[in-house]
Structures are given as structure tokens and as C-alpha cells.
């Protein structure tokens, strides 16, 4: 009964007592490490409606490792508490096995994200937060509409999604998917994402895009995949079209951005498109492994780049490509971390991002969708354009201002953890394949 979920939840409540003391960070870190250990030894939530599996266990452990990195990086007390809350809610969402528990856990993650971005200090942050809140409210509305249709059609809340449903229920489930796509930033439900990711504090964006989005994608796949595989005639065209539009638009818009955060925000939208390809290829035996791999890779690299942006903005007030020029001259460490994670996002091998994409794309080929995979591959090549462009600014250009070398320990340790994950899963694939099917 007492597992990683309860531990993180209690730690989040207890952490309130440690605000404005030096003990907050150690307590949060110890709690997360404890949760990691509990997950490793196989703890589950143990309530009805939740179910664990090998894949969920692996992903939960990775989530907790990323939480450690996020906490190490963080300096604000409130954010640390909310990081713990997000972690607990994410574990619940990952293990959710019925529609009811899924919706509750999903809303919990959403509400904590709203609280997270509501630490508003500037007008820009307010804009980002409000956009996210309105989009989130619409998403919830659509999700509930879908649920209502599903229930009217004879579906049950307290059970996994039925494979054979009445046409009304089927329609309801697809409406629900549309609601969830707001969180996944699938075009045309993406409008809020680029602004929010770029405008709110970058360490918050790291949680929103790196953590929450990935968890939602994995949980969604877990709950909906059996149903989607039964309705291929509907699933394949819908997912293929949305996936292609999302990745293409995301990549093209990223090409034209000047602010680094916006480039990475659009790249995050493009990645949602790649993830959706796994949904389209749901009939392939590799789809679940592919999605899991993609999620693992993505949570490491996306959290890492936004945490780096946070450091750059806080310490050097760097926001645009113009300002980041020549960073590698005086900050070899930061530039190296940034470059490695960008290469991973671009899909350069021996980094997790490549393996994630490769397996999702293979699932696509396996499901007979090779023309879509070709589009995805060309998109991925296009994306190298803007990633390589950032790297070009880091290394090839002369610096306009000289920044002193960044020497703070804990953000660098956090980056080290995230890079270790990106490297490990870039080379050693068998651990994911061993559990991938059980998602």
C-alpha cells in the first residue's frame, strides 16, 4: 500500500513545513530517492483502478530520476513542492487503469500544472499562464463531453475501456482523445503551447513539456491502445493526418523563431507529432515499445534543454539566438550539455532521441505506413536545420559579450544526470525492449 506515490505525496505536504529553510531541498531529494527505491522494489498504488506493469515501473523510475534532476536544479521553494506533487500525480496517472482513475489523475496533473505556472512575476508569464489555463479548461470540457457520450452509450467509468462499444460510446472516446490532444499539443489543439512554454519560467516549462506531456502520452497509450487497435479504420487516418500536420507545422514554425525557448517549444510540438505516429501504428507489435522509448528519450532531453535555458536566462539573461553566440568559448560545460541534448532531439545516433525515433518509425513501417514514415524522416531531417543552427551559434560565432564561466554545482549535476540518461538509452536498448510490450 505504501509506495512511491504515497511517499511523494506525503513528502510534498511535509515539504510545506520546510519552506524558507535549507532543509527543503535535502528532504525533497531524499523523498524522491526513496520513491525511486520503492518503485525499483516494485511498489504499486494498490487501490482498485490502478495497475502496474513492467513498462510502467521502468518509466516511473525514469520519471523519478528526472524529478531528482529537476529538484537539484530548482531554487524556488514553491516550485520544489509542486514538483513533488506533479511527481505523485504522474505516478497515479501512469498506473491508472480505468477511465475514472485516469480522468482523476489527469485532472490532478493539470491542476498542479496550473498552480505551477501561476507564480507570476511578469506580464509575459501571466500571458503564458492564462493561455495555458484557458486551453486546459477547454480540454477538460471536451474530455468530459467525451466521457458523457461514452457513458450514455453504455460505457462504464470504473472499468478499462471496452473494446466493443456502441457507436455513441465510440464517438465519445474519440472526442475524449481530442480533449487529451490539447495536453499533447497536437495541431490544431497546439495554439497555447508555444506561447506558454516560451513565456513561463523555463524550469516550469521543463516540467510542463518534459514531464507532464510525456506522462500523459504514455498513460493515454496505455489506456486507449487496445481500443484503438480494435477501430483501425478510424484510428489510422485520424492519427496519421494529425501526426503529419503536427510534425510538419511544428518543424516549419520552429525554423522561423528567434528566441531559443520558442524554437524548442515548437520542436516539442513536432515531437508530439512523432509520438502520435506510434498511435497510428498501434497494430504493430513495436508501437508500445516505440512510444515508451520515445517517452523515455524525450523526458530526458526536453527537461534538460529547458533547465539549461533556465540557467542561461537567470544567470546571463540569454534568451535569443543573437545572445547565445559564442557561449562555448567561456562555458564549455553548458555548451556541451546543450549540444548533446540538441543532437539527441535532432535524432543523432548513440543518443536516446535517435533510438526513440527509430523504433517509433520502425513501428510505422511495420504497420505498413512507410509513406508516413518517410514524411516523418524528412521532418526529422528538417528539424536538424534549427538544432544545428543553435549549435552553430554556440560554437562557430564570436561572442558579443563575455560571460563568466558557470560553476554552480547542483544545476550541473542535474544536467549530468539527464545526459547520462540520454546516453545510456542511446546505447543500451534491451532494457526497454524487455518491458515494452507490457505497456
Amino acid at each position: 500500500m505504501f509506495g512511491s506515490f504515497s511517499l511523494l505525496f506525503i513528502a510534498a505536504l511535509v515539504s510545506l513545513a520546510f519552506h524558507r529553510t535549507i532543509w527543503l531541498k535535502p528532504v525533497a531529494l531524499v523523498a524522491t530517492a526513496g520513491a525511486l527505491f520503492l518503485t525499483y522494489s516494485g511498489s504499486t498504488i494498490g487501490l482498485s483502478g490502478f495497475e502496474n506493469s513492467g513498462a510502467v515501473r521502468l518509466f516511473t523510475m525514469i520519471l523519478e530520476i528526472v524529478l531528482l534532476a529537476l529538484l537539484l536544479h530548482e531554487e524556488e521553494d514553491q516550485t520544489m513542492t509542486q514538483t513533488l506533487f506533479v511527481g505523485a500525480a504522474s505516478i497515479a496517472l501512469l498506473q491508472a487503469h480505468t477511465l475514472l482513475t485516469f480522468i482523476i489523475a489527469f485532472e490532478a496533473v493539470s491542476i498542479i500544472s496550473f498552480v505551477l505556472v501561476s507564480h507570476i512575476k511578469t506580464a509575459a508569464q501571466a500571458e503564458g499562464a492564462v493561455k495555458m489555463f484557458i486551453a486546459g479548461a477547454i480540454a477538460t470540457g471536451i474530455l468530459l463531453l467525451g466521457t458523457a457520450l461514452y457513458l450514455i452509450g453504455g460505457g462504464k467509468l470504473g472499468a478499462p475501456i471496452a473494446l466493443q462499444t456502441s457507436s455513441l460510446s465510440t464517438a465519445g472516446l474519440f472526442v475524449m482523445l481530442l480533449g487529451l490532444f490539447y495536453k499533447l499539443t497536437i495541431v490544431p489543439m497546439h495554439g497555447w503551447a508555444a506561447d506558454t512554454y516560451a513565456l513561463v519560467r523555463h524550469s516550469h516549462a521543463a516540467i510542463l513539456t518534459g514531464l507532464a506531456k510525456t506522462v500523459v502520452a504514455v498513460a493515454m497509450f496505455r489506456l486507449f491502445a487496445p481500443f484503438l487497435a480494435e477501430h483501425l479504420a478510424m484510428t489510422v487516418p485520424m492519427m496519421v493526418i494529425l501526426s503529419v500536420i503536427t510534425m510538419t507545422l511544428g518543424n516549419f514554425l520552429a525554423l522561423f523563431q528567434k528566441r531559443i525557448a520558442r524554437i524548442l517549444a515548437y520542436s516539442s510540438i513536432a515531437h508530439a507529432g512523432y509520438m502520435l505516429l506510434a498511435f497510428a501504428a498501434v497494430k504493430s507489435g513495436y508501437a508500445s515499445t516505440g512510444l515508451l522509448y520515445m517517452a523515455i528519450a524525450y523526458i530526458f532531453m526536453q527537461s534538460a534543454v529547458f533547465l539549461l535555458l533556465d540557467t542561461l536566462r537567470k544567470r546571463y539573461d540569454i534568451q535569443t539566438l543573437e545572445e547565445i553566440k559564442g557561449l562555448a568559448k567561456h562555458n564549455r560545460g553548458l555548451a556541451f550539455f546543450f549540444t548533446a541534448q540538441l543532437f539527441s532531439l535532432a535524432g543523432i545516433p548513440l543518443l536516446a532521441g535517435f533510438m526513440g525515433k527509430a523504433i517509433v518509425f520502425y513501428a510505422g513501417v511495420d504497420a505498413g505506413l512507410w509513406p508516413v514514415v518517410l514524411i516523418a524522416l524528412l521532418n526529422s531531417a528538417l528539424s536538424v536545420g534549427y538544432y544545428a543552427w543553435i549549435i552553430k551559434h554556440l560554437y562557430f560565432d564570436e561572442a558579443s559579450t563575455v560571460h563568466e564561466t558557470f560553476k554552480e554545482k547542483s544545476p550541473l549535476v542535474a544536467q549530468g544526470i539527464l545526459l547520462a540518461g540520454t546516453l545510456y538509452f542511446g546505447i543500451f536498448a534491451s532494457i526497454v525492449f524487455a518491458v515494452g510490450k507490457s505497456l
Partner: protein, 478 residues
């Protein structure tokens, strides 16, 4: 010695050098030399233990269940020849880079390049092959982008994007092959590939044609070649393009023979166009290094024609020409880069009369140039002659047109001599100081010796090369 050492070892060594080599310039250079030397010894050693035909198994690592994905390392004569060529060139490139600025980062990247390139020639798992193939781009991107000439950034980004797009086609082809055959091992897929879709052949052909490069997929190369620092141009021409040709032979011709026979006319036509188009471009160029770059592409057109014969003698000739081209074009690039470094100009019009100022350097340039146009007694002659014979044997007498390509070659090379080496001494040359670092000069000498040595005694090389394709025709070699 585990072959993994030569694949992942350089990546670790590069990290160490990058982190701790900032002040230890001599150590960094010797570490690189030692590694490349060891690679050369290791690959020569492999040559002695290779079986007559077929592969030598070097082990399987990092196997993944449920997905036929494992780092399977196997080598045959073809791959070992490529490994020897690569490690030899890496040594000479390291020597020619002796006075490069920011040596620790430069040599770290050079070392980093050695790992994946070894992996490309050793791995027979398609996905791992792809991983190494792609990974070679990363050090190249930085080497061109940081140490290159004025237009380096444009060239580096273009090179990276262009070849990356091509790689995507290759990856799709590999996925389709895996779906067709259920295996990723390129030594096993051949049998089950006979009835595979034509699409796979086209994806692979275009993907590798970009790397070789074959017209009309060549446009990234002149930029990259011209902007790269001279030793990196050597690496591009001598290793990266050869990687494309190696993959073309191994995966297009040998792995999909039926399809290749069906589309041999495509390879032949594009090869001939490349040969002549690049030749005419070289004739037209007044930019010294661009002239060398186009001459390099023109020679790769010749290799493509040889590959198009799909015959035992043709492929052997192609492999010989690949080695010859690597050794001949390298000193031309190095000298062109050196002249630019000293005179500050790329234009042949600004030079002239170099012989009076730097006779030894000029002599080396003339030797390499004559080898490029196919002077008997050098590797260029043997390569062109064997290709000509093989092509005529396969396609008939009209392929004597290849000789016209050589004539164009003679045209631009001799005209270049007239403009750069001989003629009246120009103001720029008069002002410049052409003293060269001793180590860098030694590398040039080594190239010259090899060109002549294998030109006079081609049989030494052909003995090894012929074994690479012995499975194709047991009746004997050239």
C-alpha cells in the same frame, strides 16, 4: 584486442582529450597518432587472419531481444581494405594538421571521427551501420564549421543537412529491408532480398549517391571541400566519399544484385554524367581548391562507372581507383590549402611561378597532378586503365568515351600547372613565404611515395582487392 576498443575507445579518448588536453598540445597530437597507428596495425593484422572468402566474425555485442538489433561485427577483404586506407589517411591527416590552431579540440574531434568510421566498416548490422554512418557527421560538422575558411558556416550546415536528408532515405530502406526479411544482418538478407520491392533499391541508391557524390546529388561537396581546412578536405575526399562508395558496393551491388542489374544503366549514365560534368566544371574553375574538388568528383564518377559494370573486374578496379583517388587527391588538397594559407588567395590567376619560389612543393603538386590525369607509373594510370577495360568488357566499345574524360582531366590539370606552377612569377607569390612545417611536408612525401609505389606495383594491391570480390567470379582476377 577487442574490436570494440577501436569503436568506442576513440569516443572515450576524445572526451578525455577534450577535457584534459587543453594545455598538453604535444600529448594530444601524439595520442591521436598513437591511436591511428594502432588502428593501422590492427587492420593489417586482420588482413593476415582473414579467411579466403567470406567473413571473419569479430563478435556480437549489445543484443536486443525481440528486435534483431545487435552490434554484429564481421569483416571481409573489402572492409579490411577500407579500414587500412582509413587508418593510413588518418595518420597522414594528423601529420598534416600538426600546426592547426586550437589543437586539443581539433584532435579530439579527429579522434572522435575514428570511432564511428571503424564501426561503419566493421558492423554488419544494418541499424548499427546506420548509427555509425550518421555519427561520422558530428565531428565533421564541427571540423568544417570551426576550422574552415570564410564561408565555413554555410558549408558546414549545408553539408550536415544535405547528407542527413540522404541518410533518412537509407534508414527507411533499412526498415523496409527488416520488414521484408526479418533480419538486420546484411550478410544474411541477400538471399531473401531477391524479390524485394524496387523502392528499397532506389532509396539506398539515392542515399549513398549523395555521399559518393553522384550527379545530381553532389552540390554539397564543392562547398564543403572548399571551406573545410585542407586536412579535413582530405578526410572528406579520402574517407567520407569512400564510405559512400563502400556502401554502394556492399549494399546496392552485392546485396541487391538483381535490382542492380536491372538499373545498371542508371548507375552507368549518372556515373558518366558525373565524370564529364565535374570534369568540365574543373576546367572552368579559376578557384584552385574548387578545381581540385571538382576533379575529385569527376574521379568519383569514374568509380561509379566501374561499379556500374557489376562485374568482378569492374568492382576490383573501382576499389583500386578508390584507394588511388584517396591518395592522389589528398596532396592536391593539402597543397591548395597551404597555398591559400600563405598567399591569402584562392585564385589561380594570383599565383604563377611557384616553381621558382618553392620547387619541392611544386614538384609534389606536379606529381600528384600527373597522377590525377593518369600518368603511367602512378596509381591514376592503373585505376583509369582497369576501369576502362572493365567497362568496355561489360558494355561494349563505345565506353571508350571514358578516355575522353581523362583527356578533360589532362586539360584542367595541365592548365593549372601553367597557371600556378610555371609561368611568370606573380606579385603574390613573390611576397609570400612558402616555408612548410617539417611534419606536414613529411606527410606530403608519404602520399607521393605511395602513389608511385602502388602505381609501379599494382599487383601488391590487387592481390588483396581481388579477394574482396572473389565470390563474384572464381575464374581469376585482372
Amino acid at each position: 584486442m577487442s574490436p570494440l576498443f577501436f569503436i568506442f575507445g576513440p569516443i572515450l579518448l576524445a572526451a578525455i582529450v577534450a577535457l584534459y588536453g587543453k594545455k598538453q598540445h604535444a600529448f594530444v597530437k601524439y595520442a591521436a597518432l598513437a591511436l591511428f597507428g594502432w588502428m593501422l596495425i590492427y587492420s593489417l593484422d586482420l588482413l593476415t587472419i582473414l579467411p579466403e572468402t567470406g567473413y571473419l566474425d569479430l563478435g556480437t555485442y549489445l543484443a536486443v531481444e525481440r528486435f534483431d538489433f545487435a552490434l554484429t561485427l564481421q569483416v571481409d577483404h573489402l572492409s579490411v581494405v577500407m579500414l587500412i586506407l582509413t587508418s593510413l589517411l588518418l595518420i597522414l591527416v594528423a601529420l598534416s594538421s600538426w600546426t592547426m590552431k586550437w589543437p586539443s579540440s581539433y584532435f579530439a574531434l579527429l579522434i572522435l571521427f575514428a570511432g564511428p568510421i571503424t564501426g561503419v566498416f566493421m558492423s554488419t548490422d544494418l541499424l548499427w551501420f546506420f548509427i555509425f554512418w550518421e555519427l561520422t557527421l558530428v565531428p565533421m560538422y564541427f571540423l568544417v564549421g570551426i576550422w574552415g575558411a570564410e564561408g565555413r558556416i554555410y558549408a558546414a550546415v549545408k553539408f550536415f543537412l544535405y547528407t542527413h536528408v540522404a541518410s533518412m532515405l537509407i534508414l527507411l530502406a533499412f526498415f523496409l529491408i527488416y520488414k521484408e526479411t526479418g533480419t538486420m544482418d546484411m550478410t544474411l538478407v541477400r538471399e531473401s532480398m531477391l524479390a524485394s520491392p524496387v523502392l528499397i533499391w532506389w532509396l539506398l541508391f539515392i542515399g549513398f549517391a549523395v555521399k559518393m557524390p553522384i550527379f545530381p546529388f553532389h552540390t554539397w561537396l564543392p562547398d564543403a571541400h572548399v571551406q573545410a581546412p585542407a586536412p579535413i578536405s582530405v578526410l572528406l575526399a579520402g574517407v567520407l566519399l569512400k564510405m559512400g562508395a563502400y556502401a554502394m558496393i556492399r549494399m546496392v551491388v552485392l546485396m541487391m544484385p538483381e535490382h542492380s542489374a536491372q538499373f545498371a544503366w542508371v548507375i552507368l549514365t549518372l556515373g558518366l554524367i558525373t565524370l564529364f560534368y565535374a570534369g568540365f566544371m574543373a576546367l572552368y574553375e579559376t578557384h584552385l581548391k574548387k578545381m581540385v574538388a571538382y576533379s575529385s568528383i569527376s574521379h568519383m564518377g569514374l568509380v561509379t562507372v566501374a561499379i556500374a559494370t557489376l562485374s568482378y573486374s569492374g568492382l576490383s578496379a573501382a576499389l583500386y581507383e578508390m584507394i588511388g583517388h584517396a591518395l592522389i587527391i589528398s596532396p592536391l588538397f593539402l597543397i591548395a590549402g597551404f597555398l591559400h594559407h600563405k598567399t591569402g588567395s584562392w585564385q589561380m590567376g594570383d599565383m604563377g611561378g611557384l616553381m621558382q619560389k618553392a620547387p619541392y612543393l611544386s614538384a609534389l603538386f606536379v606529381l600528384a597532378g600527373l597522377a590525377a590525369l593518369g600518368l603511367p607509373g602512378t596509381m591514376g594510370f592503373v585505376g583509369e586503365l582497369t576501369i576502362l577495360i572493365a567497362a568496355i568488357k561489360s558494355y561494349g566499345f563505345w565506353l571508350i568515351v571514358i578516355a575522353l574524360g581523362s583527356m578533360i582531366g589532362a586539360g584542367y590539370i595541365i592548365w593549372t600547372f601553367r597557371r600556378v606552377i610555371y609561368g611568370e612569377i606573380s606579385e603574390t607569390v613573390k611576397k609570400s613565404d612558402f616555408r612548410m612545417d617539417r611534419v606536414e611536408f613529411a606527410a606530403l612525401i608519404a602520399f607521393a611515395v605511395l602513389i608511385v609505389l602502388f602505381g609501379l606495383f599494382p599487383s601488391a594491391l590487387f592481390d588483396v582487392i581481388n579477394s574482396a570480390f572473389s565470390s563474384l567470379a572464381p575464374q581469376g582476377g585482372l
